[in-house]
């Protein structure tokens, strides 16, 4: 079986699973885990989007 993901979907999957692990391992209680996981997810995906737009601007 072969799966082909485009850059954005690959970044989203990466951000989702990395954020879950970061949230669980970097915080003590459930509430903080969820909050930190969500924060990491937004930062991962936001960072990727921002970097994409910066590269688009540099190319102009």
């Amino acid at each position: 079986m072969t799966i082909t993901l485009n850059h954005f979907s690959a970044a989203t999957v990466f951000a989702l699973f990395a954020s879950i692990v970061f949230g669980i391992t970097h915080r003590e209680n459930t509430r903080d885990m969820v909050r930190y996981g969500a924060y990491c997810f937004v930062m991962f995906l936001g960072g990727a989007l921002l970097a994409g737009w910066v590269m688009w601007l540099l190319r102009r």
């Binding site: 079986m1 072969t2 799966i3 082909t4 993901l5 485009n6 850059h7 690959a10 999957v13 990466f14 699973f17 990395a18 879950i20 692990v21 970061f22 669980i24 391992t25 003590e28 209680n29």
Partner: protein, 138 residues
């Protein structure tokens, strides 16, 4: 006159290493999330298992490449260390000769990175299982 440099530093007595502090990281490395599961952290262990295993399998399905033990390029060595973190997944994949085929499309490089990151995330979860075992984390 008291001199702080000559005062003896108080050393806390070393606590005996419990069996769980050895078993949890070892089994957690072999099977992602298992280090948490044997300590009855069911949800955390399940989520770690799903996250690491899914990332690794997605990497394989994207035709990513698995690094073998090597003494050459530093990036290849680091790739091997990252892959090795996946534990049993890496061992089984190498035994089945998965992740060794010729790359057929450009996005397969994402798959290689997915497998490395899965291994690195498993290293973090192993450390977390150890911290739970020694009582540093609940």
């Amino acid at each position: 006159m008291a001199n702080s440099t000559t005062e003896k530093t108080k050393v806390a007595p070393a606590e005996p290493v419990s069996m769980m502090a050895v078993v949890a990281p070892a089994i957690g490395w072999l099977i992602p999330g298992a280090g948490h599961l044997i300590q009855r952290r069911w949800i955390r262990g399940g989520l770690l298992f799903v996250s690491v295993v899914t990332m690794f399998l997605l990497g394989l399905a994207m035709q990513g490449r698995l690094y073998k033990a090597n003494g050459g390029d530093i990036l290849d060595m680091l790739g091997f260390i990252g892959d090795l973190g996946a534990g049993g997944l890496y061992i089984v994949s190498m035994a089945m000769d998965w992740g060794q085929g010729a790359i057929q499309f450009a996005t397969a490089d994402y798959g290689t990175k997915f497998m490395i990151v899965a291994g690195l995330l498993n290293f973090i979860s192993v450390a977390d299982a150890y911290h739970i075992a020694i009582g540093k984390k609940r």
